[in-house]
C-alpha cells in the first residue's frame, strides 16, 4: 500500500494501523480503533485524517464521517493539550460532580467544550465514565482521577501545568 510514503501519521502509528486492519475477518472492523488512535496522535479528526483512514479501509470519506459523528470521544476540532472530562451523571452528581465542574469552570474561565487561550486545557461535561463507586470523578485525556475535592482538583491542575512547563513533556 502506498500509505507508507504518503501517510500523514508517524511511522509508528502507520505501522500500527497497517497491523490493525489485518486483525479482523473484515477490514472495516478496524475503523473505530483507527480513528481513535489517529486522533490520539493528531489531536482531532482533520480532513486529512479522515481521507487517509478512508483510503486505508477502502471506503469513502463520507462513510467515515457518518460513523465518526456517532461516537462521543471522536472530535472534529482540536481540544486542549489536557482535556478534562468531568462526569456529572447520577453517582457523581450525588457526591458533588456539579460542584467539581463549576469549580473547574471558574478556575479555567471556560465552559463546556471550551479551550483555554493557551491551548493547555479544555473542559467537557461528560456522561458516566465507569468510576461510580469512587465518585466524583473525571478523566484527563485517558487518566482517571477519582474521589475529587476542590483542593485535589487544584492540585491536579497544578500538576498538569508543571508537566506542560517541563521541557521533557513540551
Amino acid at each position: 500500500m502506498t500509505t507508507e510514503t504518503m501517510s500523514i501519521f508517524s511511522p509508528k502509528l502507520a505501522a500500527r494501523l497497517d497491523a490493525l486492519v489485518q486483525r479482523y475477518p473484515l477490514k472495516r472492523s478496524a475503523l473505530i480503533p483507527m480513528l481513535l488512535y489517529a486522533q490520539d496522535e493528531i489531536g482531532y479528526l482533520s480532513d486529512a485524517v479522515i481521507d487517509e483512514v478512508a483510503a486505508r479501509i477502502g471506503i469513502t470519506p463520507l462513510e467515515v464521517r457518518n460513523v465518526a459523528t456517532y461516537y462521543s470521544m471522536l472530535r472534529f476540532k482540536p481540544a486542549g493539550k489536557y482535556n478534562l472530562q468531568v462526569c456529572t451523571n447520577i453517582s457523581c452528581m450525588l457526591r458533588g460532580g456539579y460542584d467539581i465542574f463549576d469549580h473547574i469552570q471558574e478556575r479555567l474561565g471556560i465552559g463546556h467544550k471550551g479551550v483555554t487561550p493557551d491551548g493547555l486545557f479544555s473542559l467537557e461535561e461528560v456522561e458516566c465514565i465507569g468510576v461510580c463507586c469512587w465518585a466524583p470523578a473525571m478523566q484527563v485525556n485517558y487518566d482517571f482521577h477519582d474521589e475529587l475535592t476542590a483542593d485535589s482538583v487544584d492540585q491536579i491542575l497544578a500538576n498538569y501545568r508543571a508537566k506542560a512547563g517541563d521541557p521533557q513533556n513540551a
Binding site: 472495516r28 472492523s29 473505530i32 451523571n89 450525588l94 457526591r95 456522561e127 465507569g130 463507586c133 465518585a135
Partner: protein, 435 residues
C-alpha cells in the same frame, strides 16, 4: 486507582484474585489460573454446557438470561464462522464492576472467552471495552499477548488441535453500543445502532455468523464455575439465581465500593451493614437498585433479596447490580432530570419513540425543575414515558421510560411541590436554559 473495599459478608469468587497481582500471567497461573480452560478443553462442549446450566449463572449485563441456555442455542453446524463476544462497554450509570475485573483479573476474562468458544465451536473471540477504559484496554492487550506467548491462545491452544484467537477492541464513546446488536454493528465499523430481532445473535450475529455475546462479569465468572463445580456455584446463590454478584454501592452511602455478595443478599443489609448506612447519618430517601434504568425503590421496599426474581417482583430490576443510594436531601425531580438527560444524550436516534420521547421528557423535566411546570405536566410526563415502553427496537427506550415512570408514581408529591413557580426546595443546580 479505584480503591478495593471488603466486608465479612462477601463471598469472594470472581473477586478472589483481586489485589493479588493476577494481571501478570505467571502469578495468575500460580493462583490456579487456566486450569478450568484445560479441563474444558479435555471434556468438550457437552460437559461445558451441562455444567453452565447447573451453575444457574444468569447474564450479569442486566437481562439475567441463563448463560448455559444461551450458549446451547448456538447451532452446532454453521456455514459461517461462529464468534464469542465479550461486552465490556460498561456504560450504565452507577456501574463500574467490569472496570475492576479488567484491572485485577484480565486472564479470567480470557479464560471465560476461550471456554465459551469451546462450548459453541468458535475459533475467535472479541473483547470489546468502552473507549474511555484505555488503561484497561492496555492491560487486556498485554494479558492477551502473554496468553499467546504461553500457547494458551493461537492455532493450537494448550498444544491441542483446537484454534482460538482473541482480539481486544476499543469503543469510542457510546452507551448504546452496550446493546448486543449495536455492539456488533460497532465492531463491524459502523454506527452503533441496534439490529432488528429476530434473527437473534445466536443464529445471525457478528459478520452474519452465530454469536454468543456475554457481559464481562458473566464471562469472568465462567472459569470459577469450572474450578468449583456448577452445583457448588449454584448453591452460593438463591433459587434460580446461581452464584455471586459484584454489587456496586454508590451515591450517598457511607462506604461506597464494589462488593461481591451472594445472589439474593438482603438489600437492607447491603445498604446498612455492608455499605455502612447513609453518609453523614442521614435518612434514606430512595434506592435505584440496578443502574440508572431500573425503577426506584422506596425505603419501605428494601426488605428484598437482591436477585433477578425478587427485585423483579418488587417492581424493579436487578440490572447491572449498581445500587445507587439517595439520601433525604436529594431532589427527585433533579435526579429524574439528570437520568433522562443521559438517555436523551445516548439515544441513537433510530426509533422515533425513543429519540423524541427522551428529548421531550428532558424538556418537560427541565421546565418542571425550574419551577415552570403545571399539574398537567405530571400526568403528561408519565403518559409520555408509558407510551415509549415496548415501542423501540432495543431496550434503550424502556430504559429511559421505566425510571421516569417510577419517579413520578412514587414521588408525585415532590413533583407537586415544584409547582407554581416555587424554586426547587433542594437543588443548587437549576437548569436555566428553558426550552
Amino acid at each position: 486507582m479505584p480503591r478495593l473495599v471488603s466486608h465479612p459478608d462477601e463471598v469472594k469468587i470472581v473477586t478472589r484474585r483481586f489485589g493479588m497481582g493476577a494481571a501478570e500471567i505467571d502469578r495468575y497461573i500460580e493462583l490456579g489460573g487456566y486450569e478450568s480452560t484445560r479441563k474444558c478443553l479435555e471434556k468438550g462442549p457437552e460437559f461445558i454446557i451441562a455444567e453452565m446450566k447447573a451453575s444457574g449463572l444468569r447474564g450479569r449485563g442486566g437481562a439475567g438470561f441463563p448463560t448455559g441456555l444461551k450458549w446451547s442455542f448456538v447451532p452446532k453446524v454453521s456455514v459461517k464462522p461462529k464468534y464469542v463476544l465479550v461486552n465490556g462497554d460498561e456504560s450504565e450509570p452507577g456501574t463500574c464492576k467490569d472496570h475492576l475485573i479488567f484491572l485485577h483479573d484480565p486472564h479470567a476474562v480470557i479464560e471465560g472467552t476461550i471456554i465459551a468458544g469451546l462450548a459453541i465451536g468458535s475459533k475467535m473471540g472479541f473483547i470489546y471495552l468502552r473507549g474511555e477504559y484505555r488503561y484497561l484496554i492496555q492491560i487486556m492487550e498485554k494479558a492477551v499477548a502473554d496468553a499467546y506467548a504461553k500457547g494458551f491462545l493461537g492455532k493450537n491452544i494448550f498444544g491441542s488441535e483446537t484454534e482460538f484467537q482473541v482480539v481486544v477492541q476499543t469503543g469510542a464513546g457510546a452507551y448504546e453500543v452496550g446493546e448486543e446488536s449495536a455492539l456488533m454493528e460497532s465492531l463491524e465499523g459502523k454506527r452503533g445502532v441496534p439490529r432488528i430481532k429476530p434473527p437473534f445473535p445466536a443464529v445471525v450475529g457478528l459478520y452474519g455468523g452465530p454469536t454468543v455475546i456475554n457481559n464481562a462479569e458473566t464471562i469472568a465468572s465462567v472459569p470459577h464455575i469450572f474450578a468449583m463445580g456448577g452445583a457448588a456455584y449454584a448453591a452460593v446463590g438463591s433459587e434460580r439465581n446461581g452464584g455471586t454478584r459484584l454489587f456496586g454501592l454508590s451515591g450517598h452511602i457511607a462506604r461506597p465500593g464494589i462488593y461481591e455478595l451472594p445472589m439474593g443478599y438482603s438489600l437492607r443489609k447491603m445498604i446498612y451493614e455492608v455499605g455502612g448506612g447513609i453518609r453523614g447519618g442521614r435518612a434514606l430517601k430512595a434506592v435505584v437498585p440496578g443502574g440508572s434504568s431500573t425503577p426506584v425503590l422506596l425505603p419501605s421496599e428494601i426488605d428484598i433479596g437482591m436477585d433477578f426474581d425478587q427485585v423483579g417482583k418488587a417492581g424493579s430490576m436487578l440490572g447491572s447490580g449498581a445500587v445507587v443510594v439517595l439520601d433525604d436531601q436529594t431532589c427527585i425531580v433533579e435526579f429524574a432530570l439528570r437520568t433522562i438527560s443521559f438517555y436523551a444524550h445516548e439515544s441513537c436516534g433510530w426509533c422515533i419513540p425513543c429519540r423524541e420521547g427522551t428529548d421531550w421528557l428532558k424538556k418537560s423535566l427541565t421546565r418542571f425543575h425550574a419551577g415552570f411546570g403545571t399539574m398537567k405536566d405530571i400526568d403528561n410526563i408519565q403518559y409520555l414515558a408509558e407510551n415509549m415502553m415496548g415501542r423501540t427496537f432495543c431496550p434503550l427506550g424502556d430504559a429511559a421510560a421505566m425510571p421516569t415512570i417510577g419517579f413520578v408514581k412514587k414521588f408525585r408529591k415532590e413533583f407537586e411541590e415544584h409547582l407554581g413557580g416555587k424554586p426547587c426546595p433542594f437543588a443548587k443546580h437549576v437548569e436555566v436554559a428553558l426550552v
